[in-house]
Symmetry: C2
Subunit: 375 residues, 2 copies
């Protein structure tokens, strides 16, 4: 099917292999259609018409070869491919999109790349999109809290993507002064945006419950929580599940402390918690804060896990190498990203699926930062 393309890319590769990058040589390689003047400063792009003339076929046949259509004679295809090769033909994506109305591109809106989960999810999204033949267009939004978000969203109001993935705390969607263009499929990660949207997310509540239960099963009489920012939906759901799990065990949850996801904020709260002898088990809302907490505990002379148990959330690559190796909740970001694209492509290409929420299970990974209550 895609035979035509493979041939082309291979050919262009060969041509370029020994060259350094240069601008403007292309026009001298093949004949331009109209301009026979010696001025090679004209440098028109090689179009299908050029290839067609070179190969002695119609431009429509070139189009068929370019798109791997089956109804082209093998000899003709080879001749066209050879001409593409000789002229250095490269399809013009803009023209194709204009004609077809499809952009073969998925937009990703995110506030920051600088969190483990976002990055890992984006990676999965990129791979899944590429596999489906879609390009990924990044649409970063500088300042989540600012009201001036709409500026960054102006590009959304251009027709440039077939669908959009939103990776951030969705309640920003409510009060911010922007909205999505209509008619564009959207999938949201990390939110409980509700039934109006298609949502994919890891099972935050399950993870928080597993973490809390794990600590209770170890005999701890209470579990303290260092939560994420209140502005984060996932943070709030972890907090809620922690609270209800404790309630289910007949325990009144202590006042949660709110960090900002950073290890530094975990460290600050850790120093406070270390002072309190009643605290023997801490559930941190992410691994970074757990790391900061453990540093504070080390510094305060409280043994982990002998004197204090700590559980994180995310299962970053490094969590198993912390000291001690961190018990944490594993989130399958790759699966979230994959499903995300699957749902989005379903809306773009296929059946108008009903919006809804897809939950990916989380699981507890027990390592060495948790131990039995030694009270």
């Amino acid at each position: 099917m895609k035979r035509g393309y493979a041939e082309i890319s291979a050919s262009v590769n060969q041509l370029n292999r020994s060259d350094t990058l240069s601008v403007g040589e292309k026009a001298t390689m093949g004949e331009t259609t109209t301009a026979d003047t010696g001025q090679n400063t004209v440098r028109r792009n090689v179009s299908m018409a050029d290839v067609a003339q070179h190969a002695g076929v119609s431009s429509q046949t070139v189009s068929r070869v370019s798109n791997g259509m089956p109804n082209v004679d093998e000899a003709t295809r080879e001749r066209v491919v050879a001409s593409m090769r000789a002229l250095g033909y490269r399809p013009n994506r803009a023209a194709r999109s204009l004609k077809t109305g499809q952009f073969k591109s998925i937009g990703v809106i995110m506030f920051t790349l600088s969190t483990f989960g976002n990055m890992r999810t984006l990676d999965a999204i990129a791979m899944a999109s590429a596999a489906a033949g879609y390009t990924l267009t990044l649409m970063p939004v500088p300042h989540p809290t600012q009201g001036s978000i709409s500026g960054a969203f102006s590009r959304l109001n251009e027709q440039a993507v077939d669908g959009i993935v939103i990776i951030f705390e969705a309640h920003v969607l409510d009060d911010a002064d922007f909205a999505l263009p209509r008619g564009v499929p959207v999938v949201i990660i990390d939110s409980d945006a509700g039934d109006a949207y298609t949502v994919v997310d890891a099972d935050q509540a399950l993870g928080a419950r597993l973490a809390t239960e794990h600590l209770l099963e170890l005999g701890h009489t209470n579990v303290f929580h260092v939560a994420g920012p209140t502005a984060s939906f996932s943070a709030m759901r972890r907090l809620e599940a922690w609270r209800s799990t404790l309630a289910g065990a007949g325990i009144t949850a202590p006042t949660p402390l709110h960090g900002d996801w950073s290890a530094e904020s975990g460290y600050a709260h850790g120093l406070e918690l270390a002072k309190n002898p009643e605290v023997t088990a801490i559930f941190a809302a992410n691994d970074q804060m757990a790391l900061g907490i453990m540093r504070a505990l080390h510094q305060s002379g409280r043994e982990v896990p002998g004197d204090m148990s700590v559980v994180g959330f995310d299962d970053t690559d490094e969590a198993g190498s912390f000291w001690p190796p961190l018990t944490t909740v594993h989130q399958d970001f790759s699966e979230v990203g994959r499903l995300c694209i699957e749902k989005l492509l379903g809306e773009i290409e296929g059946t108008h699926e009903r919006p809804g929420t897809t939950i990916v299970p989380t699981r507890l990974v027990v390592r060495d930062s948790t131990g039995p209550y030694a009270g």
Copy 2:
């Protein structure tokens, strides 16, 4: 200048604010140009011609308003904007690109997002691109070592981006069976691709020298090195600078150990190094491996920094929260990303700058994982 755009996006926002996402309503809002049939399943896109007719002007005037051209009467502009608003006009990026020959998009080629440096750099690139009005198109490459890279590069042979940033070990460029299309500006990060390319990178050699000198100044008689994979240029340059720094001090460098950047590989090498009483100072080629090394040292009963000093590379967000807080080399990834786009835009839009290498300084951040030689 951009006044037209701001108006438009604001307007579309208002229209959409209270709506849930829906497909196909747009056509019912305004009048379609040709189709007066009751079938609103036609759903043509609103074009400039539609807006022009609605506003009673020519489509060229609509174009001028859309592009913020100054030579439009204020009253006319307002009328056109009102029509855009009423019809829900969204510019068609493909048509614009086809006409102008510019895509206002920068392609980023990378093997994986899953390293701290790549992610941070990408973040900076995204912000810088957005600030310049360019979209970022991700072009992930699944398997760095495979020879079948060309398949993933087929999109590169489409005209779809104005320039390309490559974030990976550049020697893959040499032996892999692909090459970049000609005429497209390219900037490479993390490589010594040579004078033929425009290269931006952090000063790997300086960082490695600073790290090694720091350990020597603390009195250590030798510095062991856990390097990155030999396939990585940056790893090799750190290794080389480490070796030459030792040589400058009259010390024969011990055989370097090669990890794969992961904490696990650092742990494995750390266990070996811990056994050797001659080892009192270790320079790890990144923070993750340093973390793994420190875990191995803790486990082996060797005190850090009392008994063993460890230096990392990168200065990840968590390095300061390791136990003990890690002395490491800070790389300014944000600056690298920013410069990268600056150089690229220079080649795309402006003067044909000569290719060359731009180096961003690194600096040593001394924390608690290094101490005086206690031999």
